[in-house]
Point group: none
Chain length 196, copies 4
């Protein structure tokens, strides 16, 4: 097995273990067993336990973030951009449940390094939303009263919490399509019934 493959195998195993037990309850030996390597081998690829978590965040989550960012930057229509954002995000969360769990749980950690990651890479991701909103406001599609700095948080929080439904329940629950449609509809039109 090539070095890169082993690095990745450990990362995927760590994601699985972190998802199941949480970072602090996960043991290096759990990850090693899951990856079918010796405990010591892990330290050939990562500096320490925390480095593994950071790597999961940076590499695993990073890949998804990058994908979504790319897909959006091809578009110019704010509506379509938002649609892509919502759909891709929820799809990724539904597909890779272990990673979703890690995002839900570990991204909140009070740890300095985790906060750092959230403030750098993850902030860029969320800021995509505010950029889209601003774009929409410039094109007079979105209401100018909306404050993008607050709206981006509301939007991401909604997506995050909504996607949790798939990691919580093993039963089918909501489909990806209806969830995407609901969230978009909610943020675009609001809840109020119009009679015009």
């Amino acid at each position: 097995m090539k070095s890169v493959e082993k690095h990745n195998k450990i990362l995927v195993s760590a994601t699985k273990v972190f998802a199941k037990k949480g970072f602090f309850n996960a043991r290096i030996s759990d990850i090693a067993k899951e990856a079918k390597v010796a405990d010591g081998t892990i330290y050939l690829y990562f500096n320490n336990k925390f480095d593994i978590l950071i790597s999961v965040l940076e590499e695993e989550i990073g890949k998804i973030i990058e994908q979504i960012q790319k897909a959006i930057k091809k578009e110019t229509d704010p509506h379509k951009m938002l649609t892509i954002f919502v759909h891709k995000h929820l799809a990724a969360m539904k597909q890779n449940k272990n990673l979703a769990e890690v995002i839900h749980i570990e991204l909140r950690q009070s740890d300095k390094l985790v906060k750092e990651y959230r403030n750098k890479t993850f902030k860029q991701y969320i800021d995509l939303i505010s950029e889209i909103i601003r774009l929409g406001q410039e094109q007079h599609i979105y209401r100018k009263e909306i404050m993008p700095g607050i709206a981006k948080r509301a939007f991401f929080g909604a997506l995050d919490e909504v996607s949790r439904v798939w990691t919580e329940t093993s039963t089918s629950s909501y489909s990806l399509e209806e969830t995407t449609e609901q969230v978009l509809s909610l943020f675009l039109f609001g809840m109020i019934e119009r009679r015009d």
Copy 2:
């Protein structure tokens, strides 16, 4: 000092320490020092470290949840109910930042007992939102296409993430009033600009 007061002092200290370091990095001795009691004293009031976290969730958060639930149940107008919910929730989060941090971080834990709490008390809290939405739908105020089960999550997720702004930054940032107004406006009217 009366027993109840000391119980409470430890709880407040624990909330502060958990907020700063997170549950797993918090030491019993940290909490003891913060509460100005001996390590052993803590065990006169709580069974173990985890029991303290659960108590923070159940007692401290519980109080706030109860308050909000009460305030809402006096109202009958869905709009006013939502307004109260948003305002009270954000006000509580802004006022008690330590507790807010604990909610943001620890409520996500993969631990069984924490999940249990989230599934019991906390679910009731979130379900308040779906009830209000259903009420609004019956009164033809809210669009019938909205699925309350998804909307409640989006709504709570938005509130939760939005309120994080106050624990993250020490600078003034957004005011309570404008944040409340923004979130309400977003969920009620959506982002799309109407020209009617």
Copy 3:
């Protein structure tokens, strides 16, 4: 309740608790609860936990030892003296099972103070046996080859182990009389069948 009575009540309670859990597993609060006093009260009557054990040994066991010593010193016939020793010892062990348990278990402790007690008071008790044997040898009743220093230990060890039967089993098992008779017969006549 007079001071002396409380002192005694604690001692009896301690004997019971030590018998049940052993010295190290016994907690001061166990003894306090058994004696129906507050934890702190115990320290008005004893210096520390170990002092209680020593007091049990010295006072409770001491009383019995004294009784037996007195009864024997009234006699002059070695046979009768041995008979009294065996009977009284076994009777005491069967009667006060908690105390018997403490003798069985705690008298062995490697602790310095316990060893000291065993070397002082308890040695005197066991030395009663060697004195009786020597007396018998002088009167040409007991074989002169018997070494009293070894025989006294064999004798006491036998009594101690034999009496354990009553603390081990809740069922009736052997009676006091047959046990006394057996031990005496064994040490006096040995096991070999004589055909004379």
Copy 4:
């Protein structure tokens, strides 16, 4: 060092420490230091502190018990069997003083697991005595009035207490041979002087 050797080294060290301080006063770090390993290493070979004691009982004592049992089963003459039993037991106690101390002290513990060991393996050992006595009675060598169930206890108690003399005193005291001879003579012929 092979795994088995280290396991054994810890066991021997533990026996020494238990002998000196007693189980409850012995610290894991004492045993580790004695065995020249790190504290944590002990837990690679034993589950917990108590497991070490149980292992000392089962493995160390077990070896001796087995040896003696084997040696006896080769014999058919009750007298010779008893002689072997006494000699081997006392020899083992005199040779391995640490183990002797542990037998003297820890085998009495009120702990459930210790009692269990005493009731299983150790009982078998003591029952060897009653079997020999019964055998002697069938061959009309030993008096039929002797109750083997009581005599076995008296016999073992005598041996146990007699062997204590070597762990108590550092001075030479009694030799192995004279002690063996005395105990045998005592139990076979009793103390009474015969004039026939």
